[in-house]
Symmetry: D2
Subunit: 344 residues, 4 copies
Amino acid sequence: MLILMDPGATAEQVRTVMDVLEGAGVRAYVQDSPAATSILAPHASKALKADRIEPLEGVSRVVPITSPFKLASADAAPGRTIVDVRGVKVGGRDLTLMAGPCGVESREQLFTVARYVAESGARLLRAGAHKPRTSPYAFQGLGEEGLELLDQARREFDLGIVTEATEVETFDGVERVADLVQIGARNMQNFALLKRAGRSSRPVLLKRGPAATLEEWLFAAEYVLSEGNRNVILCERGIRTWSAHARNTLDVSVIPAAKALTHLPVIADPSHATGRRDLVIPCARAAVAAGADGIIVETHCQPSQALSDGPQALLPSDFLQMVGQVTAIRDLLVKDSPGATFCF
Amino acid sequence: MLILMDPGATAEQVRTVMDVLEGAGVRAYVQDSPAATSILAPHASKALKADRIEPLEGVSRVVPITSPFKLASADAAPGRTIVDVRGVKVGGRDLTLMAGPCGVESREQLFTVARYVAESGARLLRAGAHKPRTSPYAFQGLGEEGLELLDQARREFDLGIVTEATEVETFDGVERVADLVQIGARNMQNFALLKRAGRSSRPVLLKRGPAATLEEWLFAAEYVLSEGNRNVILCERGIRTWSAHARNTLDVSVIPAAKALTHLPVIADPSHATGRRDLVIPCARAAVAAGADGIIVETHCQPSQALSDGPQALLPSDFLQMVGQVTAIRDLLVKDSPGATFCF
Amino acid sequence: MLILMDPGATAEQVRTVMDVLEGAGVRAYVQDSPAATSILAPHASKALKADRIEPLEGVSRVVPITSPFKLASADAAPGRTIVDVRGVKVGGRDLTLMAGPCGVESREQLFTVARYVAESGARLLRAGAHKPRTSPYAFQGLGEEGLELLDQARREFDLGIVTEATEVETFDGVERVADLVQIGARNMQNFALLKRAGRSSRPVLLKRGPAATLEEWLFAAEYVLSEGNRNVILCERGIRTWSAHARNTLDVSVIPAAKALTHLPVIADPSHATGRRDLVIPCARAAVAAGADGIIVETHCQPSQALSDGPQALLPSDFLQMVGQVTAIRDLLVKDSPGATFCF
Amino acid sequence: MLILMDPGATAEQVRTVMDVLEGAGVRAYVQDSPAATSILAPHASKALKADRIEPLEGVSRVVPITSPFKLASADAAPGRTIVDVRGVKVGGRDLTLMAGPCGVESREQLFTVARYVAESGARLLRAGAHKPRTSPYAFQGLGEEGLELLDQARREFDLGIVTEATEVETFDGVERVADLVQIGARNMQNFALLKRAGRSSRPVLLKRGPAATLEEWLFAAEYVLSEGNRNVILCERGIRTWSAHARNTLDVSVIPAAKALTHLPVIADPSHATGRRDLVIPCARAAVAAGADGIIVETHCQPSQALSDGPQALLPSDFLQMVGQVTAIRDLLVKDSPGATFCF
């Protein structure tokens, strides 16, 4: 069982609970988090019942371990969660669009893209300043200089900034600039990073790992939630399979499957899911048609010259076509859904 | 190189070509098909050039082996192929809907479903009389009795019949009743069955195998096409991956990827792709949004009592909702596509 | 429930059983096979118990459907099955070696390989006369001419012949020549072919499909067994995954996992599992170390000139090294296993 | 191109190289690491040749970017690397055995296991003090207390300690106790952690990620190597596939494939690869037969009571049987390999 203590529980109250557990021969561990202290007693249910613990002072709740997602579960919230990203309501009626280059390369490159992103009506700009790269010799991003350029772009074009945090060490800098902190696919089970994100005041965009099951993905969200940050957006970005025509396989059915299990918003990244420019728009439409609350997409003014991920970046004209189509599909679904739960 | 002979080429003309090849020290094989004779000389290009062969009498064309899909390739047709199934134009402007129970179980069951399929506006009824089953002890279909019931349903409800051929031995019976002969996923590389389908006068619905690459799928189509039957419809039905929330993973990006390589129509089967009733409609919408020319779906009057595949069959009310939504998405795409190539 | 009738059960006895079932409102199907008639009543257990059926005349046994592999199950035999292939005891103490070229190409090629296979001490020659090929334009084997050459090779070198049956239509010819009929990976769920093999007097080598679970593989074996042929050898040949350094992924743990579930012998094919000559010997050793009862491997006198699958064929010197190493590993395991169950 | 500077190169020398690059219109990035400074100029080869850079003062070497693994590559070392772990030569003639419980749970549990590990002849004890767990509510290890117990076990039983570092924050503590620092599968692309491990004086055990290609795994090793730590051992621990009989699929062919590309030692973890106690020994034998230089395995005095991963832990008697068999297979291979390259 998991014993959640009241936020203001005293050390003495925690000690009393531990004494009862140890008196019953149960091994238990105290777990501290800024949100609240909890006590994990994995094998307790064989030795004693919840009603021995619940009446103790300072105990908030006793949760049986069989139900795995305590905070991410659809049951844990009265309705669907709407995450506010600089005024953009992710998970609400309107489709959210996040667009921009894979990485920040220069002021000129970033501002050129930011300008047409803003003109298209999208309100969130995505671009990496810290880039996780397979090879240590590949371009790893402009770092602090990139973050500074993003900060300028926000003011210049009135766009919210979505950018990736790749490590605990540089999280503070990212947090200062980001309106939405992205945790990348390869870091989905970087638990130290998830816990740091859970202690941030910024909302978190949690990409699904390339080989993560839906359950593991929700557990990763739980790591963030259980540290106190309740603003998590999930993002499907393609999974690794043997199917060879695209870089990854967009697992479109995980979108409605996730929305059935959790109250968190779910968006999709058709750029990384396919790695092929000609497949990005069809897959963006597919994700929205399956119920995605938003799309995050790579755009580039001159895709053939991008330092990373050029072959999958949309041209400006393609991007505008995509925006029109996915918005129309979202509207169609919302109109056809009387209850307005946005879980189609 | 592959040497395609004229349809009326004589045995003597074939012999002359073989003499030239053997004279150059090249091993060659004569391949007969009802469409035309061809001569396969896999290593010929090292020993002699096409212009030694092309002028010979009876030779239609010399194809270099490097280009693998001779007949399925998008280059091999002036535009997109539209396959006519009892008046329904698959691959044309309108979305095609095929619906019905997994298997024919009884006259009452079939007619109940057929009635509401017809009333929904769909014009093609799908149901299996011969069922390929993992276990030899599972219900294998009503066979000839099932085909007879399908024939009655066609007349009663004015519906085209889509039903599966599972083996060469029983193909004739299926062919008599089917307006569209289905080759199932597990038979995608049953080459004898593909060749038999290639000699049929009926159009063929070729499901993608659960572990088939796009290339292998198009090669399977090529087996049918190269026997003379040019009416092939491709059907994505989910692939086998480690992603565990659904029975298979709908590979939605294969739809635009296939349409880029071939002139054949492509549809999707969200029922087998997911195996979960609550995921069927979102995935049907996703497939159409990605450019699928049609949807084949399982419906059932009382899904909980179906002998096979009950958990994935739609209820009548769900089916009507799906028809409305996927039709609206198709219309939206067609309107947004000025060239009317239906390759969005 | 599955009701197995006695081999000599009369039509009247079958009719009586059906009457009892229908009287209880249970739908049932009569299934005929040369071995025996059976009656499939999938939902019977809800309506009536086995002891209502078992006492009826002509009934051999009533099997509950929950246990899926009736004949392949390890419980269904007193010990491990040893399949006799022209005197070679597959599944016994000694490791079985099957070797030869991928396809028969000419008398000279076949006899050159057969000679050194025989000299190495291996007693079974493998080579395809009918080749299932992804492309209709690829070399499909010499057919009857190839079978005739295999027949000659048997007599010349005193080797048992292992060759593939690709379709029901040409099965008779294969059966005349083969001492062991191979069912290829792509045909693992070609149920008509499996049933034909089940009616053959020859033992059957059943390759695992590239995306087949252990359960599906055993069900495929059950198709052969349930038609009366009890001599089935299973063969792991690599599965399709995203792991890209080899053509397939040798699933080495399926060997002990299969031997835990079934009494049938299990061998491995490291050539198709890897597609790379330098990985064949390490993988052959791995399979034997995991408990495989034999190895089937491609060898070629001049691998670079083979019409198909050249890059994976072993050179003669490599083959002899492999034989020495895998034999030594088998001996080591047998000596360390006092009970002599060959299930290490 | 990648320009590696001499260890003692001055800031001025670096500046001169940058000037030449910028003068040629090439974008370049200075990358500092404790080992040496390097300059990354990804698109330089189009604008200027290596012989413009190589003569400059302070330049050690200019590496073309086409060859991706600069330091891990088999070409980069005169022979196979042998990593010394507290006197145990990993990658040498003798097979290395690492064994112990999944996690440290108590002094009694650890010492009981350590005693029979030592008695079996194994010289390295593995156990986690920091455990990466899918759920935030699962037992995360004893942390510092666990490390202290490991330190005691080392002295008591004269065993080298193998334990996992899960985050940069707690790396120092792990480093103080570990003779071999493990980077777990989920952290294979935690680049901050890899770089920290690259600055450690301890050898590193790098597990392959559950969905990592061979190339990505070697790039992860390159992250460690390029920071200056040249003592890396690779560990295959099963990959994620759809094959359902085991928790993961042991990708046995990656062992010889890796040894063909890199000079680093390669071992295998059959416990995590299978998750089933009855498959551990067959898979351990398979890995060694494929050329693995060692085995890391979970053992437990009372597997049914382990807090994590109990079902896959070997019993003491099983462990002794495994040691005998895998040692015998290694000896057999070494004897059969005259050149003693240990790359069989």
